[in-house]
Amino acid sequence: MPKGYLAFVLHAHLPYVRHPEYDSFLEERWFFEALTESYIPVIKMLDRMVEEHIFCRLTVSISPSLLSMMEDPLLRERYEAHLARMIELSERELERTRNEAHFHYLAGMYRQLFLDAQAVFMRNRGRLSSSFRRFHEYGLIELITTSATHGFLPLLASQPKAVTSQISTGLAYFESVFGFRPKGIWLPECAYYPGLDEVLGEEGLRFFILESHGLEHAGTAPLYGVYAPVYTPSAVAAFGRDRGSTKQVWSAREGFPGDPSYREFYRDIGHDLDFNYVRPYIAGDVRVDTGIKYHRITGPTQWKEPYYPEAAKERAAQHAGDFLHNRVAHIEYLSSAMETSPVVVAPFDAELFGHWWFEGPQWLDFVVRKAAFDQNVLELTTLSEYLDRHPVHQLSTPCTSTWGHKGYFEAWLNSKTDWIYPQLHECTHRLEVLARHYKGGWVPDITERALNQCLRELLLAQSSDWPFIINNGTSREYAVRRVKDHVARFRYLADSVEQGRINEEYLSAIEEMDNIFPDADYGLFR
């Protein structure tokens, strides 16, 4: 019997970016890069765990918008083409670096990485969701999800249907892909407000994850801090993030990813080499990352030394040992002071592992192996497995919180982004009015299609990614354009329905461009 548990939660999410109206689109690379660098390496790691019979338990949240992209035939086709280009580029790199032994070796490594990604992708026939489902069935991971398009729920709460439709649509889509309903939910941006748990309880969810102060400032002070969940009045368990374990991994300055041996994210041949050389392999006329990076962090200097994968791997193993040693000591202490077994919840964005921190999947692999073989104080667990074993917890109402900057809503609601919310409010109101209007009676097929598409546009406009990107300033124009486009498309469709003049061609075009959630049902707004 372990003295406590360590629960990794990997949250995989990307905003829905799919542009069939163009041959290639810059922002679609976000998805391709995340597939190659994060999701496929995690799949490879889990495959090794299965082959070698290593005890592994992870909670993996896949957002419905990401899942929708993973399932989309057009994006799968484009990813295949992207991989082929990357393999070609890495082969050209092998040729270009033939007189520089170390860089030549690194080019070979990248070629292998792309070939491996291709092999995993082909083995799954392009549907990576089938791998995740298999791992879930084996018990290695517990799959959960989040709201439909990662809508920032507290800022939608003034219109309850906006919240329930985000959650219901997300859960329904997850179920349609995986064939089962998740037991827990990742709240977008860990954003919670009192009352949200009631909606989650009605959907039959058992748990969600909060930022630390969401639990620490709960209505009834939690006796065990964030090291045991509390039950909300709706009997849904709220787990709190452990700052210590996440900071050690997440923080670029103090955490592991900033180690000088690790690969430097910001030195990419897409920026370093002649533009005409890399141009055929990137979309458009803008320099972008290719994923081929030859340097290590080195230190706080512009000068970057070559990357040595073996040295980095060695550091990843050391950091895994360090991480686990700290968790073991922590759990030893906690178990001496607690009546129930402590659980240290360490949630991360899945894209940290591989994309931002290239050695992340290796580190995770080492942690899982060391947890399985090098100690017997703690055990890896999934969150519902923990609740199954430890069903009694304190009753409390968690505090409004997010895991964003300063812990509340400033990153999503500020002077740069506040223009979005009246627009979302109006769209929600209009959809409610339309749904009520068409309640009960016979609805022409084309009207139903238009109303369902209205819901898709509203959900897409609600994504928390847009205000976040606008606030951060990177890709700001794209995020602004997306909000405006979805609101405008909503308006066009709502006006068409109200006027009884729906242009089938236009409707089909909008359906083709924003084809997320095929079963979206405007009836949720009745």
């Binding site: 709460a157 002070a221 917890h393 405006k484 609101v487 089909s508 075009a509």
Partner: protein
């Protein structure tokens, strides 16, 4: 989603995307006001009012609203049903027009707010045109509400019940573990037989635990002495009287079983076991016997008379016929095994003594009032000899700095000693005399009240001190600030107190730390844990009984305990 037969070209898609993209923004079509919390101390409202609504209001009230400004009024509606007039407080925000948004500061978080947008006349009359929902601006610091109640949530929320004390978690975890495979349709039906006096402590214990066990999904039918038969009978007639009663109860159990079958019969002590054992054999259901004490214990080793021997025989019969015997402690268990030949695997210990737990704190307000302090004023207690060795002067040296930084804290010195006069003069000269109280020697009761009223205790000693004071303080739930030099081992830094060095700077740090974070959470946890450990709650006992019932039923003839 239905697919169009002809696929649209990229050019067409781009054209349609461009055309539809031009109709941003969507015009706001309704009167509304939306209120959001941005931060516990920052709120945001956005609103829209249609021109027609403003015009209607103006036209319906004549000229009274001419020139009236459009404002947003934010109300504090905590714990009330808002009727438009009963808010605790409100404040107004000047708006820029019929549509817009506004950020505003909130002085008091952890309150419910609601906002309205409308016109305010010169005479102060306010006509609202749209109202937001109620929004809770949450607290920005830990709550000072400490409660130990919790929930048991089994599986996908199928079995959920409240738990009075989360420190009992191990009992419920065991129950959850043991009963994982039990899938019962409907409630577990139990006949509980107690033929003793229902008004004595054991009777009320059996009664209350039977009620509690129902919350776990157990349907209990309670069989007691028939009617109000409370006649005292001669000692020698007791066994015969019990036999008569047993026959009557057995018939009652059998009759009840015909209406709704019992899964098991649970009897308390020898006088009930006769009825239960017979009934269990007749009905072929498992029999559970609780022996709260044996006749050997009751006779305290004296030579047994005929009645005691007869009772022993009954106890033995009951023990040997039972699928499970429940005893309150290990010595009873040993007797049941050694004297009555019970299989050790079939005897379990579940306590049957409940202590009334002390809830809340004693008359703290009285003591603070006597000292002239408000109820919210932090109070720091120094107790013992007012001497150099005890470090009273170090504390007084630290106080001017502490009082400068913390404007409300008061310091109480309980005890006498060679430095008392000097220190009283020093605090007066330092201008903090009004923040200190020198009480001299106090009675034990007064000391206990002081301890209860204080936020924490300071032992700033230069030399080794007795641990008694620190132990009492910790036992009362008060953390202790002490020095390394005092050598008090029961204080654990950061858990139930802080340990500093014997110099004023270090003590200043310690007092300030404690004033800002008096370790309430960990102290409360320690106190709650101690209370939970003193004796189990009735709920805890009921949970253990329920687990036993299910274990007995796990297999034929109680294989769960075989």
């Amino acid at each position: 989603m239905k697919k169009r037969k002809e696929k649209l070209s990229q050019e067409q898609l781009r054209q349609i995307a461009w055309e539809t993209g031009r109709i941003f923004p969507i015009p706001l079509s309704s009167d509304y006001l939306s209120l959001s919390m941005v931060h516990p101390r920052l709120g945001h409202v956005h609103w829209n009012l249609r021109k027609a609504s403003l015009k209607n209001l103006a036209s319906s009230r004549g000229d009274t609203f001419r020139g009236a400004p459009l404002i947003v009024r934010v109300y504090d509606v905590t714990d009330i049903i808002f009727d438009g007039l009963n808010a605790h407080t409100f404040f107004d925000l000047d708006t820029g027009g019929p549509a817009g948004n506004y950020y505003f500061g909130v002085n008091h978080p952890a309150r419910n707010y609601l906002a309205e947008v409308g016109l305010r006349r010169k005479d102060g009359y306010f006509a609202a045109l749209a109202r937001s929902g109620v929004v809770y601006f949450d607290r920005d610091r830990p709550s000072d509400n400490y409660q130990v109640n919790g929930l048991f949530v089994g599986g996908p929320q199928k079995k959920t019940f409240s738990v009075e004390n989360v420190f009992d978690a191990p009992v419920y975890e065991k129950m959850n573990r043991e009963l994982r495979e039990v899938k019962r349709e409907g409630a577990l039906s139990t006949a509980v037989v107690f033929l003793g006096d229902s008004e004595n402590p054991l009777g009320s214990f059996v009664d209350s635990f039977s009620l509690k066990v129902e919350k776990f999904g157990c349907d209990v039918r309670f069989f007691t002495r028939p009617g109000e038969d409370k006649r005292r009978v001669a000692a020698e007639l007791i066994p015969r009287q019990v036999k008569v009663l047993a026959k009557q109860i057995r018939e009652e159990i059998t009759a009840a079983h015909m209406q709704r079958p019992f899964h098991l019969i649970h009897c308390h002590d020898w006088y009930s076991s006769m009825a239960g054992l017979d009934a269990s054999r007749t009905l072929n259901v498992p029999f559970v016997l609780s022996l709260h004490s044996t006749e050997h214990e009751r006779t305290q080793g004296r030579e047994m008379d005929a009645i005691s021997s007869a009772i022993c025989d009954e106890e033995k019969k009951g023990v040997q016929g039972a699928s499970l015997v429940i005893v309150p402690h290990s010595s009873t268990r040993e007797q049941v095994i050694d004297l009555y030949g019970a299989a050790p695997g079939r005897v379990v210990i579940i306590p049957d003594v409940i202590q009334e737990k002390r809830h809340g704190t004693p008359a703290v307000p009285d003591m603070k009032r006597r000292l002239g302090l408000g109820q919210d004023i932090p109070m720091v207690l120094f107790a013992g000899e007012v001497s150099h060795a005890a470090g009273a002067d170090l504390l007084v040296d630290a106080l001017p700095t502490v009082c400068r930084n913390h404007h409300t804290a008061h310091f109480v010195f309980a005890g006498d000693g060679p430095l008392r006069g000097e220190l009283e003069a020093r605090v007066r000269h330092a201008g903090i005399g009004h923040r200190c109280r020198f009480l001299g020697d106090v009675s034990h009761e007064t000391f206990q009240s002081l301890l209860d009223a204080s936020d924490f205790v300071v032992i700033p000693a230069r030399t080794w001190q007795d641990e008694g004071l620190a132990q009492t303080a910790i036992h009362t739930g008060r953390p202790v600030l002490t020095t390394h030099q005092a050598g008090i081992n029961c204080v654990s830094h950061g858990k139930n107190g802080l340990i500093t060095f014997d110099n004023p700077g270090s003590i200043v740090w310690g007092i300030q730390e404690m004033l800002f974070n008096p370790l309430k959470e960990s102290m409360f946890r320690l106190a709650a844990k101690r209370m939970a450990g003193d004796s189990p709650s009735i709920e805890n006992i009921a949970a253990q009984h329920y687990t036993c019932y299910e274990m007995v039923l796990k297999g034929p003839a109680g294989e769960g305990y075989a």
